[in-house]
């Protein structure tokens, strides 16, 4: 990608109207390990892959509680993500203190986006190298947003960011239309299945993923390893078994939902 002439400064445009530094920041997001978010009308689930530096170290925390009604999953430069989470917590608690009422997630996301934009227009700053999946509640129900280093934000029914997120996105694209009315349990299951897509054949274990949920009557909290493993067990009987069999299993066990079309149909795609 030969675009080196105009990419030194974030405040330098390229002749084709691009800010390369901002785009490079978005590359950093793609290098981070995957984070996935999906929502129904009343709940939002955030899930991520636990990546550790080495076998000796613990994995990095990628999902943060911002308030009882807002959570965020990050991908990219985790340090930048932590700083932004702290900012979000601060905004949220200040609003709660003044108005005795939760900050609507849509407003928080705009504050965040404006903060990111500042870094794209100051020569002495650099853009934040982290993508944020913000899930939260406001008066109209549950929402999921994606905040970009560019200062843009978008609302999603479901989204995945980070490395090998394309596989998860493909899975979600097939299923998202049913998410709105999904039950809480189905939403969690879909999240974990989406995480599995990003693992590219690696066995899905509860130690490999972190899942958090929040909802209209449910404050933000992490699911514990046991609960996650239980969900995994419903669709992965034996690790090496072919997915086709699991699908039949899942279809028989829960006839009412999801048209039996489980994750087994199509092999996960490379990014």
């Amino acid at each position: 990608m030969f675009r080196n002439q105009y990419d030194t400064d974030v405040t330098t445009w390229s002749p084709t109207g691009r800010l390369f530094q901002v785009e490079y920041a978005m590359e950093a997001v793609k290098q981070g390990s995957a984070a996935i978010g999906l929502r129904s009308r009343s709940h939002v689930v955030l899930a991520c892959v636990n990546k550790a530096q080495s076998e000796l170290s613990s994995h990095q925390r990628k999902i943060f509680k911002v308030d009882d009604h807002i959570g965020v999953a990050i991908a990219g430069l985790t340090a930048d993500g932590r700083v932004l989470s702290r900012y979000m917590r601060s905004e949220s608690i200040n609003h709660s203190f003044t108005y005795e009422s939760p900050l609507p997630v849509g407003r928080l996301v705009v504050h965040l986006a404006d903060k990111a934009q500042v870094c794209t227009q100051r020569s002495w700053k650099r853009p934040y190298g982290v993508g944020l999946l913000v899930g939260g509640l406001d008066e109209s129900g549950a929402h999921l947003y994606y905040n970009c280093p560019s200062g843009n934000y978008f609302e999603y029914q479901a989204f995945a960011i980070g490395s090998r997120s394309q596989a998860a996105k493909t899975y979600l694209e097939r299923r998202f239309e049913s998410f709105g009315d999904s039950s809480r349990e189905d939403l969690i299951k879909d999240a974990i299945l989406a995480v599995r897509e990003t693992l590219q054949g690696e066995t899905l274990k509860s130690s490999l993923c972190t899942v958090a949920i929040l909802g209209v009557d449910e404050p933000f909290h992490f699911l514990d390893q046991e609960a996650i493993q239980k969900v995994i067990d419903t669709f992965e009987k034996v690790p090496e078994e072919e997915e086709g069999e699991d699908e039949a299993e899942a279809g028989a066990a829960q006839p009412a939902e999801q048209g039996g079309a489980g994750a087994g149909d199509v092999a996960p795609m490379e990014m």
Binding site: F97, T98, Y99, E100, S101, P104, G106, R107, D138, E139, S140
Partner: protein, 245 residues
């Protein structure tokens, strides 16, 4: 803000200019506001008088104003400070509307915002000399609260300011019920306002009643109460007083 300068012998001299910025005493004041929750929402009553000390100087002051779609603010105390508060709330509701995102400030949020404002001013020794009553209905939930000039803030089923605390609330404690209908509620408030009219020197016989329900907030046209002055106690107020002290 006040600034002090120390002189050798240790006494302090205050900067006169800075002092003129602080509220020291109220000038044009409104008297009681009384409010109750009822079956469909909240009712609030206040008269339209602005007293200048002991003179009943202004007789057309609206001491209750709608805030946003869901709330109503009633104030007693310094009228100019009430107007200042309305400006703060104007800005607040403007910014809230500009978001245009389906979220709106409800009475709870406005009440807490005002509590913060009043308390912070009190801490700077420059209070807004008001006692505020904030009522409203949002998403079916009725809300009624009060904030004083020193930042004391609470919610209740019925509240009153100033003289209303002493004359109206005992009536309300006896006669208020959760399921008051609209007419019953108005009658109850009028009973309180009548007592205040008889006994509060700064009350005038021109009042408004405001209604807050899920549909919205309305303030009635001004009207006056019927009074009866032929009570024996009024016809000869000093009977029994001779020689009594």
């Amino acid at each position: 803000m006040t600034f002090t300068i120390q002189i050798e012998n240790g006494t302090e001299v205050r900067n006169a200019e800075a002092d003129s910025q602080r509220t020291l005493y109220p000038y044009v004041t409104g008297t009681s506001v009384v409010a109750i929750k009822y079956k469909d929402g909240v009712l609030m009553a206040s008269d339209m008088g602005g007293s200048y000390g002991s003179t009943l100087r202004y007789k057309n002051i609206e001491r209750m104003k709608a805030i946003g779609k869901h709330s109503l603010l009633g104030a007693s105390g310094e009228i100019s400070d009430f107007q200042e508060i309305l400006r703060y709330l104007d800005e607040l509701t403007l910014n809230d509307n500009m978001w245009d995102d389906g979220n709106s400030l409800g009475p709870k949020e406005v009440h807490n915002y005002l509590t913060r404002v009043m308390y912070n001013r009190r801490n700077k020794f420059n209070p807004l000399w008001n006692t505020l009553v904030l009522g409203g209905v949002k998403n079916g939930e009725k809300y009624l609260g009060m904030v004083s000039m020193i930042g004391v803030s609470f919610e209740d089923n019925h509240v009153a300011t100033g003289f209303g605390n002493h004359l109206a609330r005992p009536i309300l404690r006896d006669e208020w019920r959760e399921d008051l209908g609209f007419e019953e509620g108005v009658k109850l408030l009028e009973k309180c306002m009548r007592v205040l009219l008889y006994r509060d020197r700064s009350a005038i016989n021109k009042l408004q009643i405001a209604k807050m329900t899920e549909e919205g907030v309305t303030v009635s046209e001004p009207y006056s109460l019927k009074t009866f002055w032929e009570f024996k106690a009024f016809t000869n107020p000093t009977v029994g007083a001779e020689g009594s002290w």
